[in-house]
């Protein structure tokens, strides 16, 4: 179902990222889970898959964090009024049963963190974060948007803020140092990074990555989100997968 959604605000978070807040005008059939996504319809323009960045089940407000890369995302930033939300799509992650989670984001992979950490707080766990970007001006203070975070590491490739290098190198280091802390590792970002995150966390209890492919219908019909050569559809079977399921197609 396409849920009508009114844009309430849009905010520039950094040189690269925006955050938009929508109010769903109808209650969704079920509540979303962290790492599920929506297809957001920008009337007359496009429909784009976006991670649920945060969701408030009481007033049906939903936020996304996004980068402007083309017409659709430009419309998300610049237009006001009504949009449409198709969702909630894909599988999410259930945080219950975990006590400490390591979330590793590359670039806009940071988007799903606020909702993940909110749910983690509810189920009694803490999320530590490694967020890597290319340049320091792309960063914003993620602590402002997410509750209940533990340690937060920023990494930049231009070495202007935080750890100098990319997120995977830092992850390798901290997992080597104190990997036993995390019962769950989740990576969201470029494929190459996900491969390294999976590799680094191979000894830990559970490790998942969230992938991206070309999502068109979002409902399992068109097949464009196929994770070739696996017989898996990102929109139904993903976007999160166990590292063991997808490791060989990463990177």
């Amino acid at each position: 179902m396409l849920i009508p959604a009114l844009k309430i605000s849009v905010e520039k978070l950094s040189s690269s990222y925006y955050r938009a807040l929508f109010k769903l005008l109808e209650p969704p059939r079920i509540e979303p889970k962290p790492l599920q996504f929506i297809n957001i319809w920008i009337p007359g323009l496009d429909e784009a898959p976006m991670s649920i960045s945060d969701y408030n089940a009481e007033d049906y407000t939903l936020s996304i964090i996004f980068k402007v890369v083309g017409d659709g995302t430009r419309g998300l930033r610049d237009r006001n009024g009504f949009f449409g939300v198709k969702g909630f799509l894909g599988n999410g992650i259930d945080t219950s049963g975990y006590d400490r989670v390591l979330f590793v984001a590359g670039g806009s992979g940071i988007a799903p963190l606020p909702f993940l950490s909110r749910k983690c707080v509810e189920s009694g766990c803490i999320v530590d974060v490694v967020w890597g970007v290319r340049r320091g001006d792309m960063l914003f203070n993620i602590g402002k948007h997410a509750v209940g975070l533990g340690e937060v590491y920023y990494t930049t490739e231009d070495c202007t803020i935080g750890y100098c290098g990319n997120a995977s190198s830092l992850v390798r280091e901290i997992v080597e140092r104190s990997g036993f802390k995390w019962s769950l590792v989740i990576g969201v970002g470029p494929s190459q990074m996900l491969r390294e995150v999976c590799y680094a966390s191979r000894g830990l209890q559970d490790s998942y990555v969230s992938l991206e492919t070309m999502v068109k219908c979002g409902l399992g019909a068109c097949g464009s989100c196929l994770l070739k050569p696996l017989p898996k559809l990102l929109c139904l079977d993903g976007p999160v997968f166990k590292c063991s399921e997808v490791y060989h197609i990463l990177g």
């Binding site: 068109k216 409902l219 068109c222 097949g223």
Partner: protein
């Protein structure tokens, strides 16, 4: 245990439930997925001579009446996509029917020949796609065009030819013409041309504006068409439109179908 096996088109199928064309079926991996879901025979996405990218999103929405509206724009890999899918189906021990589209007679014939060369078990001529100008719908509503397409294809093929027709004023007549022209059977029906306008933004939602309505809303119409056509010709009919339970399937069988195809009923139905 009840034996649900049927024999149609020279094939022994374990049960009478096939997938409907266009639900996956354009990549070999899609064939894996469809087989895993248990369909007794695989039907590919409609294939055209050249690859087609299809329309930009939105291409499919779920409606609040329980149906779906789609305008995928016949996105498909073109004839080069056929052999890999047929091979995958063979590997998995399932027959496969290639759905064939075309902008003209020649294209239907060429794609069908390719399907036979690749070893497909049959072809299903899509004479009823409501979403792409020049592909299908205009043909399906003209019984003499239906006759010509089916005749041209059936006369050069050894494998059986199904004609897939949509709901139209002349669907009974077109069905008769297709059978006359050598179709081994009919698939009835395709989606029905429709539209959904979002009242908040005052815009049609699909990028193509129009789309094909499928799912439970069209079932009573499909049942009627199958009933009428079966009563008229006692032909092999594969019923399609809104099947989402054993009861829907049984209803089609009672109306005169030998088998059914499931499209929308399978969406998000992991």
């Amino acid at each position: 245990m009840a034996n649900l096996g049927i024999r149609i088109l020279g094939l022994n199928l374990e049960h009478p439930v096939l997938n409907a064309s266009g639900i996956l079926g354009s990549e070999p991996e899609h064939v894996d997925i469809l087989v895993k879901h248990g369909f007794s025979c695989i039907v590919t996405k409609t294939i055209t001579l050249e690859p087609r990218k299809g329309y930009p999103p939105p291409i499919l929405i779920e409606l609040d009446n329980g149906g779906y509206l789609n305008a995928v724009g016949l996105a498909n890999p073109g004839v080069r996509g056929i052999c890999p899918m047929v091979e995958r189906a063979r590997l998995l021990g399932r027959p496969i029917i290639v759905s064939v589209g075309g902008g003209d007679l020649r294209e239907y014939v060429e794609v069908s020949i390719k399907a036979e060369e690749c070893g497909a078990s049959g072809v299903e001529l899509n004479l009823s796609c409501p979403n792409v100008r020049g592909f299908g719908l205009e043909l399906g509503v003209d019984p003499s065009m239906v006759y010509r397409v089916v005749r041209d294809v059936a006369s050069v093929l050894k494998i059986p030819v199904l004609a897939k027709l949509g709901f139209s004023d002349k669907v009974i007549e077109s069905s008769g013409r297709a059978l006359e022209a050598g179709a081994a059977g009919l698939t009835l029906i395709n989606t029905i041309k429709a539209m959904y306008i979002d009242v908040y933004s005052a815009k049609p939602v699909l990028s193509n504006k129009y789309g094909g309505l499928s799912g439970p809303p069209i079932k009573p119409i499909a049942i009627r068409v199958v009933y009428d056509v079966y009563r008229e010709y006692r032909a092999l009919i594969i019923g399609c439109g809104g099947v989402s339970s054993w009861r829907d399937a049984a209803e089609f069988i009672l109306a005169g179908a030998r088998a059914v195809q499931v499209g929308s009923g399978f969406l998000r139905n992991k």
